[in-house]
Symmetry: C2
Subunit: 154 residues, 2 copies
């Protein structure tokens, strides 16, 4: 087949890796998300927005920086912030007089929500992922994930 | 905080791993899925169903076995098979006279679709994931993913 089509098919190891990445990510995220929804009434994407804002200086991030960190197209991040703003978890704020850029800012309500949700969330992340692995697994995994999705510095 | 709430918070490495897993999985899958949709008109979940059936004996799997492999609740797999059946890619078949179990069977149309879609799909999986990694990364990743989502034998 290689001669005819020029395709280098995946060998067994390569296929196992790719499927494993997708399946492990999806199955862990499904469990983590189920707990978050039941406990805090929000999905993992919204939770990540709250956490990223809570860790940033002044509990705020440029919308464009937020989009980079979330693997989302920018217009979808904007819609997400609108929905979270309707629930009082974040607010938009112009970052200069000419209004050419916008901050997403964590509200006190948003901060209270992660404070309340975090302990059970962390417990599930430990049970489903982190506590199943050795420090060597963690180190090696971070190296792998950085190659697939290089982190952008703030 | 640990003393008050009993929560073992994630350290920097643990948090980097967990976020990396989610982000790497999502970002690679988004690119792979965009190509599949543009090229073959199907999402990655449907593609995976076709591939799993194409690799199975007689190009058929029990619905329950398929569900185990897809990290989906069983009722959602059933709906997925209905939709794919409407498009002529798979068909349902009773596996015994009493009709207590059902096979999903790959049709010739379904097989033709993966044959056509596979070369470009594999190219993107290589570019976005597999070719970015060493054999040692692949070996270590498979070990990690197996702990998070243990594979079930057919």
């Amino acid at each position: 087949v290689t001669l005819v089509t020029g395709t280098r098919w995946l060998n067994e190891q390569e296929q196992a890796f790719w499927r494993g990445l997708v399946m492990a990510g999806k199955s862990a995220l499904a469990d983590v998300e189920a707990e978050l929804k039941a406990d805090a009434g929000i999905g993992f994407d919204d939770y990540e927005v709250l956490v990223l804002l809570s860790e940033a200086d002044g509990r705020r991030l440029l919308m464009s920086d937020l989009a980079d960190r979330l693997v989302h197209p920018r217009n979808r991040v904007s819609q997400r912030i609108d929905r979270m703003s309707d629930r009082g978890l974040v607010r938009r704020e112009k970052c200069s007089d000419d209004g050419r850029c916008t901050f997403a800012v964590l509200t006190d309500n948003g901060f209270a929500l992660i404070e309340r949700a975090a302990p059970d969330h962390v417990r599930v992340v430990r049970e489903r992922v982190v506590d199943l692995l050795s420090p060597e697994h963690l180190r090696s995994g971070i190296e792998i994930f950085d190659r697939i999705h290089p982190p952008k510095p703030l």
